[in-house]
């Protein structure tokens, strides 16, 4: 699959539709992690639309790039984007959380496009590191991408993975931090602060880039020029807004996990549409 012909406008359209799917999943019986899904959806849209070498109709194609959603609670964003990119019909999003659905609250491997089930935080970077190591040692050009939450970086296992990936020279590994600044109990800097985040990664031997995580063109340009430094893993610290695109939820602690009532779903969707009109 080549991505060169996917325009920024088309990516924006896919991201918009993905946000609609996320809200729809939030309106199901159990609700979902709305805030952290909306903050991640632009990153995922650019990855699947313009960066990852994948074949949605052949999910385990051996030549593929691997993507690991370490912040597994943003499953709704992953489902929405996978559906938009042809892994399964978008209508299946409506089954989210229902009995016998393939769409659990955290991703399951039985869903096409999911490489590893996640949900417990602090697993994804090691998993992606193993994939990257396997490719580098066997002379294959598969790349590994992993999306981390910022609060998730409080899990110590990440720092084990960060150290070893740099030491092993995994230039084919890219981590993206969805830096929306929130975790359940409040702002990350008020919980256990992560700053200076870029310096921390840099001091561990990674090539570091910082970007607006909602700027589709900037994300595409950045991901299109990997690795930034040969033989070094790259981290992209993507500054994002929790709940992005839905004024009701933007940059709000309460958007972390939401069950949308029909009325709230209507209001959220109206806000999403209004935001889109204002931007075009």
């Amino acid at each position: 699959m080549t991505h060169e012909d996917v325009s920024i406008e088309e990516l924006a359209e896919r991201a918009y539709r993905a946000r609609e799917h996320i809200l729809a999943m939030g309106a199901t019986e159990h609700g979902t992690h709305v805030g952290g899904s909306l903050s991640a959806v632009d990153i995922l849209t650019v990855l699947y639309g313009s960066v990852l070498r994948v074949r949605p109709d052949e999910p385990r194609w051996p030549g593929r790039d691997w993507f690991v959603l370490s912040k597994g609670h943003a499953a709704a964003a992953l489902y929405a984007v996978l559906a938009e990119h042809g892994y399964f019909p978008p209508e299946e999003c409506r089954t989210y959380g229902q009995r016998h659905s393939r769409l659990a609250g955290h991703p399951l491997r039985r869903l096409p496009g999911v490489e590893f089930p996640t949900g417990s935080l602090g697993h994804g970077l090691s998993l992606a590191g193993g994939v990257a190591l396997a490719a580098s040692r066997t002379g294959r050009d598969n790349r590994a991408f992993v999306l981390l939450g910022d609060g998730e970086l409080q899990e110590g296992s990440n720092w084990e993975a960060i150290m070893s990936a740099a030491h092993l020279g995994l230039g084919n590994l890219t981590a993206v931090v969805d830096r929306n600044g929130w975790q359940i109990s409040g702002r990350t800097e008020e919980s256990v602060g992560l700053e200076p985040l870029a310096d921390r990664w840099r001091s561990f031997g990674w090539s570091v880039a910082e970007v607006d995580g909602h700027d589709l063109a900037a994300l595409r340009a950045l991901f299109g020029a990997l690795p930034r430094t040969p033989g070094r893993p790259t981290v992209v610290i993507a500054k994002t807004v929790k709940g992005r695109g839905v004024p009701l939820f933007e940059d709000r602690k309460k958007s972390h996990y939401v069950r949308l009532t029909p009325r709230l779903h209507e209001r959220a969707t109206a806000g999403l549409r209004a935001r889109r009109r204002n931007q075009t």
Binding site: E115, S126, G130, L133, T138, S157, A161
Partner: protein
Amino acid sequence: MTATEESVPSGSDWAELYTGSARDAHRRTLLELARADDRIFCVDSDTGGFEDGFAAELPAQYANVGIAEANLFGMSAGLAASGLIPFAHTMSTFATTRACEQLKLDVAGNNLPVKVVATHGGLSAGHYGPSHHALQDLAIVRTLPHLTVLVPADAGETALAVRAAAHHPGPVYIRLGRNATPRVYQEPYDFTIGASVQLGDGDDLLVVATGALPVHYALTARDVLAERGVSARVVNMHTIKPLDRAPLLRAARETAGIVTVEDHLVVGGLGGAVSEVVASEHPCRVRRVGVEDRYLDTVGDERDLLEDGGVTVDRVVTEALTLLKPTRTDAYSARPDAYEPRADHHNTRRR
């Protein structure tokens, strides 16, 4: 070609090679396997002993991921998902009580062919102190889906188990001791995952053991019992999961009961597994010799601490003899009027 047909030496070569520790036998075997199959990958977490051997000879098939057990299992799962056969090395206690979640989700949950080589099993690192005791690991790994659990009884059997694990399509937990232990096997045999090995026949009871010293203790206890006119059959249960049920149920039907012997807590390990099987299929008496439920903070080597925990030859003998004594229930059943009062007893209770 089966695992054992490859390059297992026979006869005196075997005796020469596999006198010593399970760890040495494993390292030698892994290097042989990796030379022949470049999918075999050695993932180290600073356990020591691979630098001059494996890493020097096959650097492309080796990585040290640091003193970082969670990362060890995560990366091993990534390697396995990419088509390699990683052997992930750490101590039993860190494999299970430190990085349990990665073992549960990333390795076992995904049914990926990661081979966990867990050294210093049980009290084999006794002198290191309680931080290095692994007395819960079998209880933990027994509950993880897809995971096969192997506990070889000597260095030679370790070589066979490692080969079998390499060829097994799923994840395997291989529990090894730290020290040189007595040789159980004088020559290689057809090691099969899930098929226990009977090491001696007897009619009175079954002693089933797992791991190096427990199997050694069981064999010694059999000799002691024989001197007292008791004939015990002995089984080396080298696979804890899937557990070989047939010899257990046979013993439940044919003998006075089963004594289990293990270098593990009496809860959740071999004794627990055996009890579960007979309780549901053919109830019989099970006496469990293992470390009692307490925190061992005494000082000593492996055998000393096993003794402090309650695992000795004498203890195996005592428990075996206990099985042969009539129980209160037996005595009750033996009364001529046993059946009548029993029925009354039930009626009385109901009233």
